[in-house]
């Protein structure tokens, strides 16, 4: 039996606005990659994609600012004055800012295109990878495993491809099917690795499965049905995997904050 005088600071530190950020940064990171490819291939709609990318990044940055407990201390400037490449959030901040600037110049259609394309590729990589990296680095939280390094970029791409399919972009359908299926497989691999891992990982799996197993399964199922919906119900084919991927990400962020230390 364990009792406390005072309590460890084990309550959740990220709340629902952070989940919105994780959804928006997935859309923003994916949109940057789409804009990068469109710009490299001289796609006729590249300026529209750049504009949508900018809107998504600004929305994400706004969410981050609103959720920040230090929003009126204006300390965020230190993100860009410090050099901390070991910090995923620093990498993500630079990824989003580089993407925003590059998208702006692609939208303007001015300046050295090669430079903006390079900026978009670097920005997209950072913005897609950093959320999973920010979680996976925490070896003390067993639900945030290295599998997230692949699962989060994949689900991020699913969200933006789902959005593109909703807006009837013809190129999105086959990529949506492929990336949705890859994300579903990765979701199952993530669970399997937990369930067959160390004693701590198995304990975390039991906790996760009993609390969020049904919802997580629903998310994976939503990714799996995308290929079936693509021709029959095009509207749902975009929406269902988008929501499924967002659900999977949110559940992992939310539940993974528990570190099962000493309780």
């Amino acid at each position: 039996m364990t009792e406390f005088y005072g309590l460890p600071n084990s309550e959740h530190f990220w709340h629902w606005p952070t989940l919105i950020h994780f959804a928006l940064v997935a859309l923003a990171g994916g949109a940057v990659l789409v804009t990068a490819i469109a710009s490299i291939k001289n796609h006729p709609k590249v300026r529209t994609y750049a504009l949508i990318t900018m809107v998504l990044i600004v929305l994400d940055l706004l969410t981050l600012w609103i959720e920040s407990p230090s929003r009126f201390r204006f300390t965020h400037v230190w993100l860009f004055l410090a050099f901390t490449p070991t910090a995923p959030i620093w990498l993500g901040a630079w990824g989003l800012i580089i993407s925003l600037g590059s998208s702006f110049f692609v939208w303007l259609n001015k300046g050295p295109k090669l430079l903006w394309n390079a900026g978009l590729v670097v920005g997209a990589t950072l913005a897609l990878v950093y959320p999973g990296l920010a979680l996976a680095l925490n070896i003390n939280r067993p639900l945030w495993t290295p599998a997230l390094l692949l699962l989060f970029p994949l689900t991020g791409m699913v969200t933006v491809l789902g959005l593109a399919h909703l807006f009837k972009q013809a190129w999105a359908a086959r990529w949506l099917v492929a990336v949705s299926l890859a994300s579903a497989v990765m979701g199952v691999v993530y669970l399997f690795a937990l369930a067959t891992g160390s004693a701590e990982a198995r304990g975390a799996f039991d906790y996760f499965w009993s609390h969020d197993g049904a919802l997580f399964s629903l998310g994976v199922a939503a990714l799996l049905v995308a290929p079936l919906l693509i021709r029959r119900v095009p509207l749902l084919a975009g929406l269902v995997p988008l929501l499924g991927a967002t659900l999977i990400r949110s559940l992992i962020v939310e539940a993974g904050q528990a570190q099962f230390f000493g309780f």
């Binding site: 460890p8 995923p88 920010a134 925490n138």
Partner: protein, 194 residues
């Protein structure tokens, strides 16, 4: 080089929580959050019973996982080994809270992170932390690990058993638990019984 550390003799600790109260008062810690708390664990089965009173706080790790993940560099290690926070740079992102394996960090209503800093304002004046000064059983010792004659070095050297929390994570804490009441070590780490 100075390497500040603390040792807590669990054979002497009676769980009175005087250290926790002293910490609250010294550092004006608000309600609902704690820099220092006591974990009281009953071990064994009747009639072989004992209790472990284990004060917990920031362990000022040699390799603190909270420092490299800080995106603004506000978390840093002082020359004397204290893991510190420059609140002027903190953006309240909670990355360090996520990285801490010991639940030692928390967010203040003012929008920045806080935790035990070994009462650095007292240490800088050559005094010991408030928890050490107030402990009625003298179970806490504090000092420079690199000085073989410091109280903490002597306490560790003379202890029958020395443990740290979650040693498997490789953080190498600078807070040592001495003489655990259970033969297997700290409660909750080995899963053993008396």
């Amino acid at each position: 080089m100075t390497r500040l550390a603390m040792a807590i003799d669990l054979a002497s600790c009676v769980g009175c929580a005087a250290c926790s109260i002293a910490c609250k008062m010294e550092n004006e810690v608000p309600l609902g959050v704690h820099r220092l708390w006591i974990r009281n664990t009953t071990l064994g089965t009747f009639p072989n019973l004992t209790v472990e009173h284990r004060p917990e706080q920031c362990l000022h790790c040699e390799y603190p996982p909270c420092v490299p993940v800080c995106p603004t560099g506000c978390c840093f290690v002082r020359a004397d080994g204290i893991v510190d926070i420059d609140v002027k740079k903190c953006i309240g992102c909670s990355a360090c809270i996520a990285a801490c394996p010991y639940d030692a960090r928390f967010m203040l209503p003012q929008g920045y992170v806080s935790k035990c800093d070994f009462c650095k304002h007292r240490v800088d004046e050559g005094r010991v932390p408030a928890c050490v000064e107030t402990c009625p059983t003298l179970c806490r010792t504090f000092g420079d690990l690199d000085d073989p004659n410091s109280p903490v070095s002597i306490a560790i050297r003379e202890a029958k058993r020395v443990d740290v929390l979650r040693p498997g994570l490789g953080t190498e804490p600078n807070l040592y638990y001495l003489n655990t009441p259970a033969a297997f070590g700290l409660a909750g780490q080995q899963g053993g019984t008396l």
